[in-house]
Amino acid sequence: MKMSIKIIKKGLSDRIIDAGRYGFQHLGIQPSGPMDFLSAQLANTILDNDLNHPVFELHFPAAVFEFDEAMYICICGANFVPVINEKSVALNTPIHVYPKDQLSFLQPIEGRSCYLAFKGKLDESKKWLNSFSSFQTTLNKGDHFVIHKAPEIVLSINPFKQNTIQQVQKNLFNEHEIRFIPGPAWNDLDHASIQALMHKSFTIDAKSNRMGFLFNGPAIHLAAPKDYLSSAVTMGTIQLLPNGQIIVLMADHQTIGGYANLGQIILVDLPRLAQLNNQCPFKLSITNVQTAHQLYRSIQSWFMH
């Protein structure tokens, strides 16, 4: 049986995403995965979906959704105060919606990317190159997403899911340094810039978006001007712009970069960076690849029964 989720009102910049479109970066086609993969995975875990099941990624002000059939949904990540027919609903729990229910979001309390997962299979017509991640398009009024209904089951929060929720919340919203592994241009920095990057606070600039996060903070300089040949970049690459500002590439990053590559934010800290509000100061700290891999494995173990 088919049902659908319809967009009643357009948001600022909302889209459908899954884990991302890999295997095409050599053609300049970026992965366009989630800004915060932990919240996307959490929402799917709560609904007993595959971890990489497509979800909606919302930014405030977010779209208004209408459901034409009864179904389960789940909202994770940023708290934008979700309401269904003007009654507030909880994050991080399965929500049973009914035909004609409308979901909207009132105000941004914490975080910047919110994830809306649903039970049921999204129609394959929305798929391109093995991925549902939207390609340079955002949700518009009137868009509707056809979903093939999942077998009726009652979803609940068990102790396993409770633990996953707590771990993800702790990782996302507890203050912590953002860790990175130094990159090829790290040693080209002058001494003061290295000190600044290791000890000073930064905030995220208001012009930041899914392509990249610009940092506000001390100006960073190379010891001497240097040109770099362009090479591949990924989500988390820390680039130095010619004006002394740092940009960290995010989910819609270009595939190739030619600015000084100072390093790479580790995967486990990208969701926390992605959820940081503009006014929140944060610090960077250096780590290594072994630690990064251990942390990533332990995070993924939260999602495995």
Binding site: G23, W128, S231, V289
Partner: protein, 245 residues
């Protein structure tokens, strides 16, 4: 940083990490006039091997980057980076590395001033005639060094010194799909309508990126490209862009 000799007389690959989920092989060739044939052969080898856990294989200038899934690899990334390189070295020693012939792609370009919207200012800045610029731009064989910026956008070089033009200080809000531009030593074609800062000297009537085709993009890194001047009439005959009627 680790260096491995491929074979005594061959250039060496340096292995670097791009954070916690990509490895970079950088070839030391000194001068970069073209993509090194060893790097091209290595790229083909890794692509053909279809290694589990390798999510992307990205060739650009003097580097090959492999994006990997952490959960697929137990070992230190340097170790599996070496293992892949050793497999390639063994295969090339035994001459079982197949090298595809590099494609030579001819791109029709109309250098009419109505399409090459920066042409008039460009020739003033360069102090040459439009015909000279067209001749210089179209007689050279370019190498596609990488694709990026937009799907299918090929960075090609090198543009002859006499017609190198700087980027516009601030980008145009809309450059039309098919527009051929110059930025410094590089030339490229906009695959879709997009903002852009390159100096537009002409337009090709053909599609550079087609999301519905199996090859998706006309170019891949390592291809060789030549521009063939066409007149406005032929441009309209061959045109595939929706904005022109």
């Amino acid at each position: 940083m680790v260096s491995l000799g491929m074979q005594s007389q061959r250039p060496t690959f340096q292995i670097q990490l791009l954070g916690d989920h990509a490895i970079v092989y950088k070839i030391n060739t000194g001068q970069l006039k073209d993509i090194d044939p060893n790097l091209l052969a290595f790229t083909q080898f890794v692509t053909n091997e279809k290694i589990n856990g390798i999510k992307d294989i990205i060739l650009a200038y003097d580097t090959l980057t492999l994006v990997y899934d952490i959960l697929h690899f137990d070992s230190n990334p340097f170790l599996f980076a070496h293992t892949i390189l050793e497999a390639f070295n063994n295969a090339s020693k035994n001459n079982i590395v197949s090298i595809e012939r590099r494609s030579m792609i001819e791109i029709p370009v109309c250098y009419d001033e109505s399409l090459g919207i920066d042409l008039e200012n460009a020739v003033k800045a360069l102090n040459c005639s439009i015909d000279e610029l067209i001749q210089q731009h179209s007689e050279k064989i370019y190498t596609v060094y990488c694709l990026g910026f937009l799907p299918g956008f090929a960075y090609m070089g090198e543009v002859p010194h006499a017609i190198q033009l700087p980027r516009h200080p601030s980008p145009r809000s809309k450059v039309l799909a098919g527009s051929v531009g110059i930025a410094g030593k590089q030339t490229g074609i906009y695959p879709m309508n997009s903002p852009g800062g390159w100096q537009i000297i002409g337009r090709t009537p053909i599609k550079i990126f087609d999301p519905t085709s199996t090859s998706l993009t006309l170019f891949k890194a390592g291809d060789q490209v030549r521009f063939k001047p066409i007149d406005l009439k032929l441009f309209h005959t061959l045109n595939t862009h929706e904005d022109v009627h």
